[in-house]
Symmetry: C2
Subunit: 222 residues, 2 copies
């Protein structure tokens, strides 16, 4: 991806976080990105093309800072080095990945605000829905995989259902935090509790196992 | 409240659900409501005043159709008459109240779309936050009370935390449904499961009871 194309997408996220999608003017975006209006149209064709790419860009950026922080935690966490408390590893990773979106850091706040705005716009703009649906499916899949590491015997459908609830809850809590009606610490506490509640719920799905822990129904050949 | 004032608020909800808050033009609103622009300014002073009143109006309307449906259910539900399965009463009421917001009926879709838009606008418009915060507090309180009827021994703080999660989840699921990326039946299923998961979680808080079911800690006099 060219540097100037990236600069335009970064500027689009900034302007959307500042004024909302409907406050996005190509003139202001050009100034913010330090490029000409013509270059914006050259790269993105039209406003809808720009919004679609910005949605994917914002989503990828959230994944990137989540992944980077997980890598940092893995190298600095003493528990990870000693191998103590093995079951807490994947649960801690899941909590960290979801709680990273609820942080009062300028880039997190900007990214979450832009993401919330693009999501809200998709209600009125069906052309954004393809990107939004794809980003959501990928995110739900990742969270379901992380839940699966915490609860390896829970069935796939239960993992996906829990992941759909946790990600939708995070969007709901994030919107309340960003609109100033829920303090950040409360949003983080509610999210952490929700992860605990869902993980406990998924434990119930491991009941159909034999006493030695071998799953009785999955991998059945008949 | 005067008929014409109500007509303006109903028209504002309709126009916001059609074009979003930033698509709301006073000219279009005046045509939709069948009044003059001057009358709109007479009743609401300015755009912010109009949006604040519309937020409260949309919220009250959601409460009203929830309450009306509960009354209908109470008179038509054969289980309620026989008194069978007493514990299912408050749980069923809670489910119905929350699931009423996830229905493909024109007035529910319009009200939910307008509510989502006004919420999203509050991220950029601090003047809307007072009304939004008040509406949210009242809603959380109502859901916490309903949860308290299902789980009478759960502590207040746990009821409020569960109510905050359920209402934030409903907003997240509703946004996904309205933007067309989550089918309505899936949204309803996830919501119903979440209620079950939270109610099971709250049951854990009833553990500090004596064997005969008498609470040991609440109502203590020492």
């Amino acid at each position: 991806m060219s540097d100037r194309r990236t600069a335009i997408l970064e500027a689009a996220a900034t302007v959307i976080a500042r004024r909302g999608v409907r406050g996005l003017r190509v003139e202001e975006l050009a100034v913010e990105a330090g490029v000409s209006k013509a270059l914006i149209y050259y790269h993105f064709e039209d406003r809808t093309g720009l919004l679609r790419r910005t949605l994917t860009f914002v989503n990828n950026r959230a994944e990137r800072y989540t992944a980077e922080q997980s890598a940092v935690d893995a190298t600095t966490d003493p528990g990870a080095a000693t191998g103590a408390a093995p079951t807490s590893g994947p649960l801690r990773q899941l909590e960290q990945a979801l709680l990273l979106e609820l942080q009062d850091l300028p880039h997190v706040r900007e990214n979450s605000t832009a993401w919330g705005e693009l999501r809200a716009s998709a209600v009125f703009d069906p052309e954004l829905r393809g990107e939004l649906a794809l980003a959501s499916v990928i995110w739900v899949r990742e969270v379901a995989d992380q839940l699966g590491e915490v609860r390896p015997t829970a069935p796939e459908s239960a993992l996906v259902a829990s992941a759909e609830r946790l990600t939708a809850l995070l969007e709901g809590l994030s919107a309340r935090w960003l609109s100033g009606i829920l303090p950040l610490t409360d949003a983080r506490t509610r999210m952490r509790e929700a992860i605990g509640v869902e993980v406990a719920h998924l434990a119930g799905h491991t009941a159909d196992r034999s006493a030695d822990g071998t799953p009785t129904s999955p991998n059945k050949l008949d």
